[in-house]
């Protein structure tokens, strides 16, 4: 059978997942304060 393509690894790494969450929340907070 076909081998599935490698998917986004972002969410597989706990440290990256936390960093991503923090960054997106910060961006969101920044946008709403403008």
């Amino acid at each position: 059978g076909a081998v599935p393509m490698e998917e986004e690894e972002d969410d597989d790494d706990p440290e990256n997942r936390i960093a991503k969450k923090m960054l997106l929340e910060e961006i969101k907070a920044n946008l709403s304060s403008d």
């Binding site: 986004e8 690894e9 972002d10 597989d12 790494d13 440290e15 990256n16 960093a19 991503k20 923090m22 960054l23 997106l24 910060e26 961006i27 920044n30 946008l31």
Partner: protein
């Protein structure tokens, strides 16, 4: 002293990050905005060069940690944001 080198490193870092954060197109403009607000002294410093150089090398080697390195760069840029001039002339004398 490192201004030109740092600008090149930052451009390379942005280029790398923009490819890796396509799912969140707001990330790169945010990083650019942080860079624009940082103090010129810091942007031309050896400290910033070291952070950028380290983060660029690491993000190129470990794509799955891109947000960790973006956060690191954002944190140092935030810590070195240009201070706003405060209007203190209206403060009454004690």
């Amino acid at each position: 002293a490192f201004q030109a080198e740092n600008e090149q490193l930052f451009a390379d870092f942005l280029a790398c990050c923009s490819q890796l954060t396509e799912e969140h197109p707001e990330v790169v403009p945010y990083l650019t905005g942080r860079h624009q607000k940082a103090s010129p002294a810091f942007l031309g410093s050896a400290e910033f060069r070291n952070v950028l150089s380290r983060c660029l090398t690491r993000v190129q080697a470990r794509h799955h940690k891109v947000y960790v390195y973006i956060n690191e760069v954002c944190t140092v840029l935030k810590a070195n944001t240009q201070r706003r001039k405060l209007a203190i002339s209206a403060v009454p004398a004690p």
